[in-house]
């Protein structure tokens, strides 16, 4: 299902019953962001508002430089906005210090980047266990069991002990998906997750991401240039010049 949202704000909710406040995993209002300095300073985000419900897949589309990735990094608390508010699971995060934002990232957010971003000195299993080790919710044997289960579910059960360098691009991206799901985050943020993959692997990774997210009731927000991928998302939000259109 594809929803085109011409207004800004608010984000248009997907079809179905009206959402309860607690259904929103992520909400932002009036996000402002400038990048660069001096004469090169650019107003990238000009008051963006957005909401994401659990179990829904959102696509943010738009031309290069419109602010999609910048928005994604702000929503993922990797960056700090110059104005506006971000709420994660009802908690205001935008003005928090680095420690609180880092803790929130570890507990509530999973990232999938365009260029896989695996740690190549580590095996697939270790890559998936890495966020779990930091969060420390599970004892090590359970961490390993969960990592194996996740790798199994992305079709890499037989390659758990391969180093990142011994995996193909598609396999690396599937490990990245498994890693993003490791701590059972409520939000998955994916920046061009299929941008570096062929058609077959793109479909595979997207299906995985959406299936696993829906199974676990996670909100998936992905930035993509791929219209076919965008078409298959529950909600599509086009952006231009730092605003949703």
């Amino acid at each position: 299902m594809s929803n085109k949202s011409p207004t800004n704000p608010p984000a248009r909710a997907p079809a179905g019953p009206a959402p309860l406040a607690g259904d929103f995993a992520l909400r932002c209002t009036g996000l402002q962001r400038y990048l660069g300095q001096g004469e090169g300073r650019v107003h990238v985000l000009k008051g963006v508002s957005f909401e994401a419900r659990r179990g829904q897949v959102y696509a943010i589309v738009g031309p290069s430089g419109c602010g999609k990735s910048t928005l994604l990094y702000l929503l993922g608390l990797l960056d700090q906005p110059d104005g506006g508010e971000i709420e994660i699971n009802g908690q205001r995060m935008s003005n928090n210090d680095d420690l609180a934002r880092t803790a929130a990232r570890g507990a509530h957010i999973g990232f999938v980047f365009q260029f896989h971003f695996l740690m190549l000195e580590f095996t697939a299993l270790e890559n998936v266990m890495m966020p779990m080790r930091k969060l420390g919710r599970l004892p090590p044997p359970e961490m390993e069991a969960r990592a194996r289960m996740l790798l199994d579910s992305v079709g890499l059960g037989a390659k758990t002990h391969r180093l990142g360098t011994q995996l193909s691009g598609g396999e690396q991206q599937r490990v990245a998906v498994a890693r993003a799901l490791a701590n059972q985050p409520s939000i998955i943020l994916a920046d061009e997750p299929t941008g570096n993959l062929d058609v077959k692997n793109s479909a595979l990774v997207f299906d995985l991401l959406t299936r696993l997210a829906k199974d676990n009731g996670q909100a998936v927000i992905l930035v993509t240039h791929n219209p076919e991928i965008a078409q298959r998302c529950d909600v599509t939000r086009p952006m231009r010049d730092g605003l949703f259109v």
Partner: protein, 414 residues
């Protein structure tokens, strides 16, 4: 294993060449620090041991007497004012028994020996040489010197104890006079000649001692030198020779005699060793600087190459503190391995150096290079390496922690 340590270990082992480079520098830094310390303090320690074993930790030499100046009071009252003018030194110790008894009350004192010294001429069948008689009570002198251990002829001090006509002659003097044990010599002092026999020959290794000193029983020396009372000096050994300065100052106040600690007595040579120490300190600082620069270089390189990984870790919830720790762990791993290998390397080279032939027989006697084996050198080397390498590692570690994950992912990280 903590997650940060695990990551640090992998980062490090992934950069084998750079890691080996900084590891080698650390090993060299620690090892050469140890070798330099061992060789520098080896000679100094040996010199100090030698001088403590020959002339003791302190000597009480001259009696001090305050000198007074008298001034007539104004007004023709006939009264005089006495004013302390300075200190006059009266040569020798007039009451050695009293002084020895007083000295023994000091807790740090291990032994006390009164010595009577006098200039003599010694004649053997071969030639005549100038020498100095040192009259001693052997039982006392054993406690203040290592004379017993310096005897090089068979029989030790046995013959010296048997008869008061036995003398102990230094190795150099014995060679010059072509003397052996039991040979006779004639000692001429103050116009009187007496015959003695060589009871033993000693060798301290200090040429000035070995070529001039002849040890003789104190009673016999008094008779020969015609000094029935007093002593030239009182030699003292201490349990803690390093505290000789403080003890000497205290004794001077109590006894009214000048007391010279070994640090003052040998200050010229000790200042030479001090200069050597400063020189070696500069050298070892350079070694450890090289090690820390290598570590800095390796870590800075790893930070540059691992910015993407830093972003991944930060996106997964790793804090700035974790990133700092990961890089400091890398330095710590290199340091730990470098310290162990450096210690072994230092010990091996120190042992090798101690085998190098180096005959010296002037200031002290040795046949090989003298080294000092002290755990303290290893502790110092490792502590210096830890401080310098960790300081050098802090800069790249903190830089890594300051990187903003958003900037890295966007490709605008500085």
């Amino acid at each position: 294993m903590s997650p940060n340590l695990r990551i640090a270990f992998r980062f490090l082992t992934a950069k084998k060449r750079a890691m080996l480079m900084s590891l080698s520098c650390t090993v060299l830094g620690v090892g050469l620090f140890i070798v330099t310390q061992a060789t520098t303090s080896g000679f100094e320690d040996f010199f100090v041991r030698t001088l403590l074993g020959t002339d003791g930790a302190m000597r009480i030499e001259d009696r001090k007497q305050s000198t007074l100046q008298s001034m007539e009071a104004a007004g023709g009252s006939g009264s005089h004012i006495l004013q302390r003018e300075g200190v006059k030194y009266i040569e020798g110790v007039e009451e050695p028994l009293l002084v020895k008894a007083a000295v023994r009350n000091f807790a740090n004192v291990r032994g006390v020996s009164a010595v009577l010294r006098g200039n003599v001429q010694v004649t053997s069948p071969f030639k005549t040489e100038d020498a100095q008689i040192f009259g001693i009570k052997l039982d006392e002198h054993r406690l203040v010197s290592e004379l017993e251990r310096k005897i090089t002829t068979p029989g030790g001090l046995g013959k010296f104890l048997e008869s008061t006509s036995g003398v102990l002659v230094g190795r150099v003097l014995a060679d010059r006079l072509q003397l052996s044990v039991n040979d006779s010599i004639v000692v001429n002092a103050r116009g009187e000649s007496r015959r003695y026999h060589v009871a033993a020959i000693y060798e301290t290794g200090v040429r000035d001692i070995d070529k001039t000193r002849i040890y003789l029983d104190l009673g016999e020396a008094r008779s020969l030198l015609r000094k029935p009372t007093g002593a030239t000096f009182v030699q003292i050994s201490l349990h803690e020779p390093k505290r000789a300065r403080e003890e000497a100052a205290h004794m001077e106040d109590v006894l009214g005699h000048s007391v010279r600690p070994w640090q003052e007595r040998e200050k010229e040579w000790l200042s030479v060793f001090r200069a050597l120490k400063v020189s070696s300190a500069i050298t070892v600082t350079v070694f450890t600087l090289i090690a820390s620069l290598a570590m800095f270089n390796t870590l800075a390189m790893i930070v540059l190459e691992k910015t993407k990984d830093i972003a991944i870790l930060r996106s997964m919830g790793y804090e700035r503190r974790d990133i700092t720790q990961i890089f400091l762990w890398q330095a710590a791993i290199v340091l730990a391995v470098g310290a162990v290998l450096g210690g072994l390397f230092g010990a091996a080279v120190t042992w090798g150096v101690s085998m190098v032939p180096l005959p010296i027989n002037t200031l002290f006697k040795t046949e090989t290079f003298i080294v000092s084996w002290s755990a303290w050198h290893y502790v110092q080397a490792i502590a210096t390496a830890v401080v310098m390498v960790m300081i050098a590692s802090l800069v790249p570690a903190r830089r890594a922690a300051r990187l903003e994950p958003g900037d890295i992912v966007r490709g605008t990280a500085q």
